[in-house]
């Protein structure tokens, strides 16, 4: 048991975004959180990474409570959140964006090797190191955002809709990279997606939420084969 949420409630302004949510994600699992627009997926990730306060309930990571912790401290505990919408800093170069991922780390040698790993996974970034991040395509920006997370040496990687607004071919590349990343590093990944089918294909398990509440959870194959869920939430 690594990431554990019990009866978690999160509000976004006056709206309850997450209501009484309980689940556990085990060490090394790749779990995808599925739901339609407004289901509370983004709020859930933001609460885990410390960007949104938890109104009620408890959350723990490796047995330690993470409620009320700040994002910059949680990063130091291995919880790395790649937020929605190609989270790069366009005013900085590609190289500076990658550097930023490891800016707090003391082990400079390991930062260098983690950077190399990110560049091996996304060779297109290596060709564009000195360019401004604003010159990258949408897919390259997403690669850079994930690359920055890799440099932070994540133990728990939170990815918010990495496929958003990308062409199908690029989506395949991004998902393949996520799959290879968790296999080679053995890290825990929480993948929030609207693109349910692509996400379930690489995930071990899926958690379906709707209007902030848990609808169903199960192995990816079981969810994909459930006719009721398919028509209501998976959209195919």
């Amino acid at each position: 048991m690594t990431l554990q949420l019990s009866n978690v409630k999160v509000a976004h302004g006056a709206i309850t975004a997450i209501d009484d949510l309980t689940f556990t994600i085990n060490e090394g699992e790749l779990v995808t959180i599925i739901g339609s627009n407004g289901a509370g997926k983004t709020s859930l990730l933001r609460a885990i990474s410390g960007l949104l306060p938890v109104e009620h309930g408890s959350m723990s990571w490796r047995g330690e409570s993470i409620v009320g912790k700040r994002p910059e401290d949680l990063v130091r505990k291995g919880i790395v959140h790649v937020s929605e919408g190609k989270a790069v800093i366009p005013e900085l170069t590609v190289s500076e964006n990658l550097q930023l991922g490891g800016i707090w780390r003391k082990d400079r040698a390991d930062v260098a090797s983690a950077t190399q790993m990110a560049l091996d996974l996304f060779p297109r970034l290596a060709e564009r190191m000195s360019q401004g991040a604003d010159t990258l395509s949408g897919g390259e920006r997403q690669m850079l955002a994930i690359g920055r997370a890799i440099v932070a040496r994540p133990q728990l990687l939170l990815l918010d809709e990495p496929s958003l607004g990308l062409a199908p071919l690029v989506i395949d590349q991004i998902f393949a990279a996520i799959d290879s990343l968790r296999r080679s590093l053995g890290i825990t990944v929480v993948l929030v997606e609207q693109n349910a089918l692509s996400a379930l294909r690489i995930a071990d398990r899926g958690i379906i939420i709707n209007l902030g509440k848990l609808v169903a959870t199960g192995a990816s194959a079981d969810l994909m084969n459930d006719p009721a869920l398919r028509s209501a939430y998976l959209g195919y």
Partner: protein, 298 residues
């Protein structure tokens, strides 16, 4: 020809000072999105502390670092004790945008009255060992003194140090990232609150250098740097408020512009000229000469 060159020298000298004040405003704007009207107050208080150090050590050069460190500390304290709590308390309320600006005006008033109470509303002399008499070339005296040289060199040194920190150090990268995208920066482990305080401290140091360098060419009173706030602000707007290079260029453009107006038109319109330039820039190119890309996300 001599008059033309002399005018350029005068312009460079005042431009250097405007650039420093402009830097002080831009550094604060970049870190917290506030136009810091208290900058003039912070600069005057650090100049008074430099003046005190000068009276103790009888050495102008030793009083400079005292003024600079005091300026950095005062500015960091204003951010941590006034601006940060205010931003947290007003977040999401209708006064969120205006409250910090009003607060800086309040701090300006507070510091000026405090300075008046401690040192009196009289004109004090904060003197430098360098002469304020112009260099002599042959038989002609040019309007550029050793103290003017110190002003220009000091400004260049400060700007070079800032440029090096922002461009080549991890602290500089954190400062830039925090000002562009605070949320992504926090998720990358940058302590954004701390970066804001450091940004303010840098700004305070720049303002203190301006005050301690320029005051020996004039006098010291609680209001003696107020005009510099106006010119620094106009210079910052010309440069786009966002860019450090823009702040410096804006200061030089304004300094040279003033010098030429003074030489060829007259001194009576100087103050209005500052506002005419400000309005013209805002109308024609509101993002400033070096303004950030218009696509920049807020």
């Amino acid at each position: 020809m001599t008059i033309f060159l002399n005018t350029i020298l005068i312009g460079l000298n005042s431009g250097a000072i405007y650039s420093l004040m402009s830097l002080a405003l831009v550094l604060v704007w970049r870190s917290t999105r506030v136009v810091n009207f208290a900058a003039a107050g912070q600069a005057i208080l650090s100049t008074y502390l430099g003046y005190e150090a000068m009276n103790r050590f009888h050495n102008y050069w030793l009083s400079l670092p005292v003024a600079v460190i005091a300026g950095a500390l005062i500015s960091a304290l204003v951010e941590a004790l006034v601006m940060r709590p205010l931003a947290k308390r007003t977040k999401g309320t209708p006064v969120e945008a205006i409250a910090p600006v009003i607060a800086t005006l309040g701090v300006l008033g507070l510091i000026r009255s405090l300075a008046g109470m401690i040192w009196g509303n009289t004109f004090l002399q904060y003197t430098s060992p360098l002469s304020s008499m112009g260099f002599k070339i042959g038989h002609t005296t040019i309007p550029f003194s050793p103290q003017n040289a110190a002003i220009v060199i000091g400004s260049v040194v400060v700007m070079a140090i800032f440029a090096a920190i922002f461009k080549f150090t991890r602290l500089g990268l954190s400062l830039r990232a925090a000002s562009f995208q605070p949320e992504i920066s926090r998720l990358s482990g940058v302590r954004v609150d701390r970066m804001r305080t450091i940004g303010w401290a840098f700004a305070g140091a720049a303002g203190a250098v301006a005050g301690a360098l320029v005051t020996p060419t004039m006098f010291l009173s609680p209001n003696s740097l107020d005009l510099l706030l106006v010119t620094g602000f106009v210079a910052a707007v010309i440069g786009g408020l966002e860019s450090l290079v823009g702040a410096v260029v804006g200061g030089l453009v304004l300094g040279l512009g003033f010098a030429f107006i003074l030489q060829y038109i007259g001194s009576s319109i100087i103050f209005s000229a500052a506002f005419v330039i400000l309005i013209a820039v805002l109308l024609i190119r509101p993002q400033g000469i070096f303004g950030a890309r218009s696509s920049r996300e807020a």
